[in-house]
Amino acid sequence: MFCNFFRAQRLEEASKLSSWKQWRQSTQRTLRRLRDEAQEWLSSLKLWRADIHQIEGMFGTGILSYFSFLRFLVMLNLIIFLLMFSFVMLPIIIMFTTNVILFNIWNPFMELYPSSARRGLVIFHEHITDLLSGGGFLEQTYLFYGFYQVNQIHFPNIKYNLALAYLMTTIAYLFLSLIWIVKRSALGFKRNLVQDEDRFQSFCNKIFAGWDFCITNENAASLKRSSLLYELRTDLEEERIKQKIADRTRKEKCRIYLIRFILNIFVIGVLAGCFYSIYVATIFSQEHVEYLMYEYLPSIVITLANFITPLLFSVIINFEDYSPAFEIRFTLMRCVFMRLTSIGVLLFSLWSQITHCKDETCICGYNHELYSCWETRVGQEMYKLTVFDFIIIVAVTIFVEFPRKLIVRHCDCGLAKWWGQQEFSIPQNVLEIVYGQTICWIGTFYCPMLPAICTIKYFFIFYIKKVSLLKNCRPATRPFRASSSNFFFLAVLLIGLALACLPVSVSVAQINCSQACGPFVGYNTSWEVLPTAVSELPTGVRSVIEALSSEAFAVSFFVVTCLAMFYVIALAGAHKKVINQLREQLVLVSLVK
């Protein structure tokens, strides 16, 4: 054992070394100890350590990965908010408190932005309506894009280009999110790449690494046992099914392909129907802003669609006769596509409204009569989506899951038995929070305080989900592996990020920014700030930047990256060959023996 073995070894070594070497060794040990203690202190500062440890003990590492993912998102949103705050909000706050001169480039098309803030005596419930819809008094706060009316701020010594800072911070937070997610997923991705086959070593993984030694609860242990049994039986059956699939006749194959084709057409039809209803709902809510319910119509439609479609998909997949593992993955892919594309459809319908004028072409590039400050309107939509998402999560937990537990526990009728106790479905929960995070990424450009709102939202969701898990749920009978789940979460998050970059870049580069509000007054598009700022730089720096952004550089960079990728792929192929050769050699050596 350690203590005895290493102790004897150390005593032996100590007697051989000179006093100088002994002193050096003891200092090295002290430094190592200090470093370990510092790391321990840092890790004790980690948020929610005790809660996550408790969940791990009761439910194992699969569900634990969901909660550590949630913690990661809280940190990410906090950092994004700090970025926005320090580069965009702080200069304005300083400006207001110290009365520094501000500077606006005036444009012939500029109009006075009519304030929709309520005047005079305001009835209390209208404040609540404003809070929920993001309109009214909220439009005149730091919350929305429209409030940041300054181009540049002249501080005593420096000239601060707020417009440029706004644009650069947007690019920076998207880039930062990308780097952080990729770094976090690098480990899981490497492992997934190594496992080149679908089921490579899955049996060994399940048997040798199947038991979570950190489970302390007797109940959880017996549940883990039954879920392992279920998993093993499913895998063995899947192997038998694969054999059956390989033995299929031609006629059966044609029949299966025909069924799959028809069902896929049906799925596409359902998706198209959902997207069309989201489009119609958005246009309707933009035209009628009388009631709060109409304002929330797109959110309601999206939530309904995202509730019904997973149930539909899980029913359809049963007829398509795939292997069980592929069934799960395919259903999940469809759900991911549905969730994230619904946001895209909403934005597309908003965009069509904004750039559509009564006459053929819009003078300003956007409908300046209806949308004098269109960025704030988009920001309000994102704000409403976030608020509604949070309300739905809380409402479902309180009004659906809690009564379900009461009914199942106290009622003995057939309905209760069929419905069963709530299972904590990790994929659906992860899709929920990735959906919220995608909205946050898109909305931060139009609503700089949205990351702060999302941080608070995820903070509360952690506690709500934890309480719901401990009180209402039992662990899923179909367990979600910890390793592949980490990779799955981050892959879906990356898809969300890619989707979020698209609307932001389109609106920055294509759509004309509104001339009545915001920091980009005077420029045609928001992107124009950058070339203007670059042209003001000294000649040397300017020529370097122009060289970097020229086509020649882009093409050569692309070619070099492709070459590097081909090289790495070839290297991986060669390594695989060597491994196979060594394996064969081992077999031969043992046979010879």
């Binding site: 054992m1 350690f2 590492t61 899981g188 040798f208």
Partner: protein, 189 residues
Amino acid sequence: MGTTASQLGKELLSEYQELTFLTKQEILLAHKRFSELLTKDEKDLPNTKVSMERILTLPELKSNPFRKRICHVFSTSEQKDGSLTFENFLDLLSAFSDSATLEIKSHYAFRIFDFDDDGTLDRGDLEKLVNCLTGETDDTRLTPEEMRQLIDNILEESDIDRDGTVNLSEFQHVISRSPDFVSSFKIVL
């Protein structure tokens, strides 16, 4: 060299920090939990051995299907009864700690799974392993047909030299490719 009093001496503490993968906090917590298992007279004796039954009352081990094997592997007593001294206990926690290397963990995992202590995992060991994982009662066991199919699959994936058993290096090779091992082979007090 052992626990002579109910408090752990500073020198001893730093020595344990050297020799194991545990931090100071973890060693102190382990000492506290171990002392709770001792009776009043045993607390004053050095190098007390705690019997396996008492060790198995710890909540971290109580629900573990491999608890008896764990005690046997980490025990250094001549009677082979699975009793642990405090240093054995520290070794146990060190092997299962967060900072232990994959090599250490796979080495101990191999010894825990080797039910007949013959240095290799043969079909009998694997069968006992699977039954530990799924449960001991009749309706939680796999059928003999399923068991045979499962063990055939395991040997196909891990037995590189095709001798019908998994030896330590084959086991370590398989574990190094297993993504879940490090996160599940962990006991934290």
